[in-house]
């Protein structure tokens, strides 16, 4: 049995303000809760909250619920919500902000492939300046769930035989120019 009662002490209005002050975050407080975002989102039907309720959680300062949600990681950033929002709230950009915070706070769902891919991608690009799809997928799989590799074999072969899967590690010459600093 899960408790459905929320105490006000669980809310963090200060955090809500911070989110609203991030670039792209302005407007969270003007949300009508009309649901146009969740209605148009191609993935909301798989999400635990969906964009509308994420905004509701943010506004009311329920930080933990928002950051540990699956919703933010299922967002494929197609920006459909953003262009449909009658208040022009940059929902996708807010999602990005929440993802970053979830990573920093290590609140993201464990063994959930999306954040892992993101991290691997990020690390790879920091190192080489470019991503090499093959190696990226490999590392992602190894860290999340190696068995998915079996599922991928057919596709992998298809790509290979059509010359679309290069095993080369892409790398730029001037790697020194790449952003160094690690995430806090």
């Amino acid at each position: 049995m899960q408790r459905e009662l929320k105490f006000q002490r669980e809310a963090n209005p200060e955090w809500a303000r911070q989110v609203s002050e991030r670039p792209g975050g302005e407007g969270v407080f003007s949300c009508l809760q009309c649901g146009a975002c969740s209605g148009t989102c191609p993935l909301s039907i798989y999400m635990d909250f969906g964009p509308r309720r994420i905004i509701a959680l943010v506004r009311e300062g329920f930080r933990k619920d928002a950051l540990s949600s699956q919703t933010i990681w299922l967002c494929a950033s197609c920006y459909s919500c953003t262009v449909h929002c009658p208040r022009q709230i940059h929902i996708t950009d807010i999602m990005y902000g929440l993802k970053r915070e979830a990573i920093q706070e290590r609140l993201y769902p464990r063994r959930f492939a999306v954040p892992i891919l993101a991290q691997e991608f990020c690390a790879m690009v920091r190192r080489n300046g470019r991503s090499s799809e093959f190696w990226l997928v490999l590392r992602m799989a190894l860290r999340s769930n190696p068995f998915i590799l079996f599922g991928m074999m057919r596709t992998g072969w298809d790509l290979l035989r059509t010359g679309r899967l290069s095993l080369r590690r892409e790398r730029i010459r001037d790697v020194s120019a790449l952003p160094r600093q690690e995430v806090a």
Binding site: Y46, Y96, C122, I148, T155, D158, R164, A177
Partner: protein, 305 residues
């Protein structure tokens, strides 16, 4: 000879989306539009990066802008919708959020924000529509269309807030360009719905389901092929058709083409040079619609890795 367009391939066009690059370069050659690849470009800092570390993501595209500025490109063509969006978003943020702008500038050493305004990030669809135009394309058409009906699939990111590739809710430019080469298109209500992007790799079932819906609706509208303008869309729609059949038992196989392949073919481009051999699904249709020339055969062998 007009000034060369800067060309920012992005990672995908060197991998799974190589056919997009091949057809794009061929098409621009046929149109006598010079295209110069940005030297030592780096990852645009796309979706995944954004969700880890926004500032670095911006710094990444900042470097690309600096390169484009150095090479004094007025236009920078980004065929991958994700690259296109991220680059434009960076410009937008520099514009709208002085603080972010200052941070990015600072990170760029010399720190001049001019580099952001000087370059115009453009999508090939918009370049071909506005700089060349359906009329000119029709004039240059040498091959009549022998293929089936096509559903134009624009995908999401190129028509979204930071883009200006086409109208965001009901884009029509790809349809108009294809009409110019007499390729019959079908009305496609899902033309701006998301293909799931990288989800096919992470939350596989969900990602594949999205593409199943796209294929099914395209077929229902009588389409025999789908035209795309983004490497991720093409990959997702192309690579999982066998799997969809296994899962649903429905036969939805159809070729997933790049609109640049269709235009390039109409303008007389070589089959191999347009990357048709790189298709995974609908190879039979492709063989019929875009028949091989003897010369093509050899070229194709070499093209394989």
């Amino acid at each position: 000879m007009p000034a060369a367009y800067g060309y920012f391939p992005g990672c995908s066009l060197k991998g799974t989306g190589v056919a997009y690059e091949e057809s794009l370069l061929t098409l621009f050659r046929l149109l006598e539009l010079p295209l110069a690849e940005l030297d030592d470009w780096n990852c645009c800092g796309a979706t995944s990066y954004m969700s880890i570390d926004e500032r670095s993501a911006f710094q990444l595209s900042a470097r690309n802008f600096a390169l484009a500025h150095k090479a004094n490109h007025r236009d920078l063509i980004a065929p991958c919708s994700a690259c296109y969006l991220v680059l434009r978003k960076t410009q937008d943020y520099v514009e709208r959020y002085p603080q972010t702008g200052r941070e990015i500038a600072a990170s760029m050493g010399n720190g001049s924000l001019k580099v952001f305004q000087s370059v115009r990030v453009r999508h090939p669809l918009e370049v071909l529509y506005t700089d060349v135009g359906p009329g000119e394309i029709r004039k240059r058409m040498v091959r009549p269309w022998r293929g089936g009906r096509v559903a134009c699939y624009y995908g999401c990111q190129m028509v979204r807030p930071y883009g200006e590739a086409d109208r965001d809710h009901d884009p029509t430019r790809m349809d108009e360009l294809l009409a110019a080469v007499e390729a019959p298109t079908v009305p496609f209500s899902l033309k701006t719905k998301c293909c799931g992007g990288s989800l096919t790799g992470t939350t596989h079932e969900v990602g594949v389901r999205l593409n199943y819906i796209l294929l099914k609706e395209a077929a229902r509208k009588g389409a025999q092929a789908i035209a795309t303008a983004c490497p991720l869309c093409q990959y997702n729609l192309d690579a999982y058709q066998h799997e969809i059949r296994r899962a649903t038992g429905e036969r939805l196989e159809m070729p997933i083409l790049y609109f640049t392949q269709i235009l390039g073919w109409a303008l007389g481009g070589d089959r191999a040079a347009l990357g048709f051999q790189r298709a995974i699904s609908g190879r039979r249709e492709i063989a019929q619609w875009f028949p091989k020339s003897p010369a093509g055969k050899r070229a194709e062998k070499e093209a394989y890795v």
